[in-house]
């Protein structure tokens, strides 16, 4: 039997019986693509026309052309329509399998099974393509009328047609497989849901339990590809292109295809493999299975197990969320999930309420599996938290502070673009650092081991313990990646932190000052020195300054952070955009040990040597308030005061003694505060400047208080009286 035998009369007869779905598909495509997009573009163009002429730029046309191009190629509309009609055509086209009357009719006709399958299968594809192509042609036409169409858009939308057809086929095949495995409509719909969402469900459940019971588990926001779920791959594909609507027109729109390559490839492989599976299911499906929940009786129990195990674990997770992860409640939830699920399955299988308690042996069997899975998380039977990749296993390691507490390095900018794009420090460190240094890999391992051995101790630790949080990702030689998040006591793993912070890849990845493009654009930049209260322009040789600073900044590691606070910040700024309307800024700390840098700044007049490290002068201050918010309890615990202790100092001698304990807050927060000597945030200072100072200085700068540096008598006076 060949396609030749699918005569026109067959198509016409088939269309007659499925005309409402074909019409629905055509109307849905026409309304949601050309009509909707044309209305949207018209509204945008009208909006623009009422603005003053100055705002009506050519850029606008380019940007709406870009938007239109993406909207008629990849968008949520296409995703929804592909999923919807993939499901509808599969279920509607083959729903006759669920009726004895219809099965008797169709199966007794002199039509081979292959021909019957091809006719129904291909007509589903044909109706989808017909709707899509009609919508696309009309979109091109309307786009041309509105002036938002381009040759690029034609090519782009044809690629969209191919990609979305692959998505449709993947969904169609999934639904067909479910339809052939089911014996009634209810079974088919549930089967579709099962195949489309099972993999995601497993991911969610696994993530939920890892979050609760694996203390070093971290979700780094990686976008996982789905091997079995075309739904989520299709969603990723359309979303990743839709994001390009908001990018600058200068960026080549076709570059967005990098993002869709992997999900599209997976969808394509899925379509090819599932086609064979679908045909096999069609051939092997017993005709007499109409009316049953599952066509092949032998699949009933495995299917039930495959669904009920994750469902019960999910019910456990829900109970866990409602009870602050109480294990008793989680087990209760799992058992409830099994009981409820078992009854529902039996009722669905037998279509009889009285069947709810049949096959009772399934309940303990599922409970054993579900509780074993729970136990594997609860007792960490897989050794997730204990596992530290050895030097032989690890290819490289990336390490980053878990929370970026410095204001200097939170972002990494793409220099040289009109509109810079940023990546967060953590994201960049984890994806780019990849240090192959053995010392760094071992240091990360020492931190992991320390965390594992002292975890309970860390849970009860007091707030003044120098704790820092880290994220580590190993890339193993076998291609796998292992991510962990840990907290460590800096004083206990000092050497490991130092090794990591001194790693060249750590420096180059985290600090953009070492990036070649930074040097390339240095001429376009302006340079300033900021000492916490004043900002001075640097007019000297920026290349020389950068080279000296790059060398001295290599000192920036844990030992420096622990011992010292910066005396100032070196700022580099660059203006971008056509009108130079955007300004971007990089800040780097300057310590008193950066002699070369300070010498160049002093030579240029940006710094006065005698002022380095002196942030305030006694003469500048009229008075200051010291405020204490806490008291020490009988057991040494901190108690917040209802009425803070506030002391006013107006005597210049007192002020002079207090000043060494004050430090500019902006400088303090500029570096990694998790790793430096902490200031006492239970205390505050309010400074009232002399009148003549108010005009010259940035008096809005705020200061933090180092309690230990305060004179003893003042410390005593600051303590609340009982």
């Amino acid at each position: 039997m060949t396609l030749r035998n699918l005569s026109w009369a067959d198509w016409v007869e088939n269309l007659k019986r499925r005309n409402w779905t074909a019409v629905l598909c055509m109307v849905a495509f026409l309304l949601s693509v050309p009509v909707y997009q044309a209305m949207k573009m018209t509204a945008l163009i009208r909006e623009q026309q009422v603005l003053p002429a100055a705002f009506q730029e050519a850029d606008f046309i380019v940007s709406i052309q870009r938007e239109y191009m993406i909207n008629i190629s990849f968008s949520m509309n296409f995703f929804v329509l592909s999923v919807l009609f993939g499901l509808l055509f599969a279920i509607q086209g083959f729903s006759w399998l669920y009726s004895r009357k219809k099965t008797d009719f169709y199966m007794s006709l002199p039509v081979s099974n292959k021909r019957r399958f091809l006719l129904l299968y291909l007509s589903g594809v044909f109706y989808y393509m017909a709707g899509y192509i009609a919508a696309l042609l009309l979109s091109w036409f309307l786009g041309s009328l509105l002036g938002v169409m381009s040759l690029e858009a034609v090519g782009f939308s044809l690629i969209g047609l191919a990609a979305n057809t692959v998505l449709f086929l993947a969904i169609y095949h999934t639904a067909l497989f479910a339809v052939f495995l089911a014996g009634n409509m209810r079974g088919a719909i549930l089967g579709c849901l099962f195949f489309l969402f099972y993999e995601k469900g497993i991911q969610v459940i696994s993530e939920g339990y890892r979050n609760i019971y694996f203390r070093t588990y971290v979700d780094l926001g990686d976008r996982h590809s789905f091997l079995l779920s075309p739904f989520f791959n299709g969603l990723m594909m359309n979303q990743s292109v839709s994001l390009f609507k908001n990018t600058d027109a200068a960026i080549d729109a076709f570059s967005c295809f990098e993002g869709i390559f992997k999900p599209l490839l997976l969808l394509l492989v899925f379509v090819v493999l599932s086609a064979g599976l679908v045909y096999l299911a069609w051939r092997k499906r017993p005709t007499e299975s109409y009316g049953h929940a599952i066509a092949v009786r032998g699949l009933r129990t495995p299917f039930k197990f495959f669904v009920l195990i994750p469902v019960s674990l999910f019910a456990g997770l829900l109970c866990g969320y409602a009870s602050s992860d109480n294990p008793g409640f989680i087990i209760f939830g799992i058992l409830c999930g099994i009981l409820g699920g078992h009854c529902i399955f039996q009722i669905l299988y037998e279509s009889d309420l009285r069947a709810a308690w049949k096959k009772k042996w399934h309940i303990p069997a599922i409970a054993v599996v579900s509780l074993s899975v729970f136990a594997s998380f609860y007792f960490d039977l897989t050794g997730f938290d204990r596992y530290v990749p050895s030097l032989e296993e690890a290819e490289s390691v990336s390490v980053s502070l878990a929370y970026e507490n410095s204001t200097l390095f939170p972002w990494y900018e793409d220099i040289g673009e009109d509109s810079m794009t940023y990546s967060s420090s953590r994201e960049r460190m984890i994806s780019q650092m990849n240090s192959p240094e053995e010392e760094t890999i071992q240091a990360a391992g020492r931190m992991l081991t320390w965390n594992h051995e002292h975890y309970e101790e860390l849970e009860e630790t007091s707030s003044d313990r120098p704790i820092s949080n880290w994220v580590i990702r190993y890339r193993l030689k076998n291609g796998k990646e292992i991510s962990r998040t840990i907290a460590v006591d800096n004083s206990q793993v000092e050497d490991a932190i130092s090794v990591i912070m001194n790693d060249e890849r750590f420096h180059r990845t985290r600090y953009q000052i070492y990036a070649p493009e930074f040097e390339e654009h240095l001429d376009e930049m302006e340079c300033f020195y900021f000492n916490g209260t004043e900002r001075n322009f640097y007019t000297g040789d920026k290349d020389e300054l950068l080279k000296v600073y790059q060398e001295e900044f290599k000192q920036y590691d844990y030992s420096l952070l622990k011992e010292k606070h910066p005396v100032g910040i070196l700022k580099f700024t660059i203006a971008c955009g056509k009108e130079m309307e955007n300004e971007y800024e990089w800040n780097f700390p300057v310590y008193d040990s950066f002699a070369g840098t300070l010498a160049l700044l002093e030579k240029d007049g940006a710094v006065k040597r005698e002022e380095v490290g002196n942030f305030l002068e006694t003469e500048e201050i009229a008075s200051l308030w010291l405020i204490n918010y806490v008291r020490e309890g009988e057991n040494g615990e901190i108690q917040w005061l209802e009425e803070p202790v506030r002391l006013l100092f107006t005597d210049k001698k007192d002020i002079e003694r207090i000043l060494p304990a004050l430090y500019p807050g902006e400088l303090y927060h500029s570096v990694d505060s998790d790793l430096c000597n902490p200031y006492d945030f239970y205390f505050d200072v309010e400074i009232n400047y002399e009148n003549d100072v108010l005009r010259e200085k940035d008096t809005s700068a705020y200061f933090v208080v180092f309690w230990e540096k305060l004179p003893e008598d003042i410390q005593k006076r600051m303590k609340p009286s009982d």
Partner: protein, 301 residues
């Protein structure tokens, strides 16, 4: 010829048809009798290639029928509840069948439609149950298929219509190579139509014979004897299936050919004897009793 060899089919562990072998010859009306749940529909659905047998094979003109369009072109199946497309009229169904049965006789179809008084443009869903069955039979006859398998199709048709259909079958059988296979749970429905009858019980074929052969091997005789001695003597020579007495009038159902039986009565010196026609029911009773079945319970209720 349809040849059924060792056909078996189970549904969820229940044997619906077990090891059935039968040959349906061309040019005769084959009746398939059985109670509800005897396996008639399952048998017919396997015979027409709707269901795949668990065991055994069905050969239609020496071709396996399952998923074989050449074999299926020769068989038309009318299910107990015939299916018509939603919103379709007789004309739509004719158009559809024309695309799948290359020998479909369009002219004859419309001729029969008008003869039966069925409107070709009226929606089938508005037809009565009997009219739907008539339409299904007409479609089947006009499809050009050699074998027409009807599952309980005659049940519910009025006697006039049954006669019309019967004559239609006879006409078709006369004009072309046509073999109807009719399944029914009611023996009396098939009495005047079938040439060959198969009896299905609990999935097994317990009898399959030509009606003429059956009629020839069993006789019904009314007789009156002059003395009890003569009567006893003759009765001891006969293979009696059934005996009824009203006064001196004795009605006997006996095995044997007409000639043998008449000869025995002639020689016995009976005052009067007459060979009467046998009903299908009576034939069945006699035939199935041999196998230890109580046919009254099986098919007469």
């Amino acid at each position: 010829m349809i040849e059924v060899r060792h056909l078996s089919k189970s549904f969820e562990g229940i044997k619906a048809v077990r090891n059935v072998s039968v040959i349906i010859k061309e040019g005769a009306v084959f009746g398939l009798i059985g109670t509800n749940g005897a396996g008639k529909s399952t048998f017919l659905r396997m015979m027409t290639g709707v269901l795949k047998p668990d065991e055994g094979i069905v050969l239609v003109d020496r071709m396996p029928v399952f998923d074989n369009l050449y074999a299926k072109e020769r068989i038309f199946f009318i299910a107990d509840e015939p299916y018509f497309f939603t919103g379709a009229c007789a004309r739509d169904m004719e158009r559809f069948y024309r695309t799948v049965f290359p020998e479909f006789d369009r002219e004859r179809f419309y001729l029969y439609l008008s003869n039966f008084g069925i409107e070709s443009r009226r929606r089938i869903s508005t037809f009565s149950k009997g009219t739907k069955k008539q339409l299904a039979i007409l479609l089947g006859i006009c499809s050009g298929a050699k074998y027409l398998c009807c599952d309980e199709t005659f049940d519910g048709l009025d006697p006039v219509m049954r006669q019309v259909i019967k004559s239609l079958f006879a006409k078709e059988m006369e004009e072309r190579d046509f073999t109807p296979v009719i399944a029914s749970h009611n023996l009396r429905e098939l009495e005047d139509i079938c040439d060959h009858v198969g009896l299905l019980h609990q999935g097994g074929m317990i009898l399959s014979k030509d009606l003429e052969d059956m009629k020839c091997s069993i006789q019904k005789v009314q007789t009156v004897f002059s003395s009890q001695a003569k009567e006893r003597e003759l009765l001891s020579q006969l293979d009696i299936v059934k005996e009824e007495r009203r006064g001196t009038l004795l009605t006997l159902t006996v095995r044997g050919t007409r000639e043998e039986t008449e000869e025995k009565f002639r020689q016995s010196g009976a005052l009067f004897y007459e060979v009467l026609p046998l009903s299908l029911e009576e034939i069945f009773i006699s035939e199935t009793e041999v196998n230890g079945y109580d046919v009254k319970k099986l098919i007469l209720g």
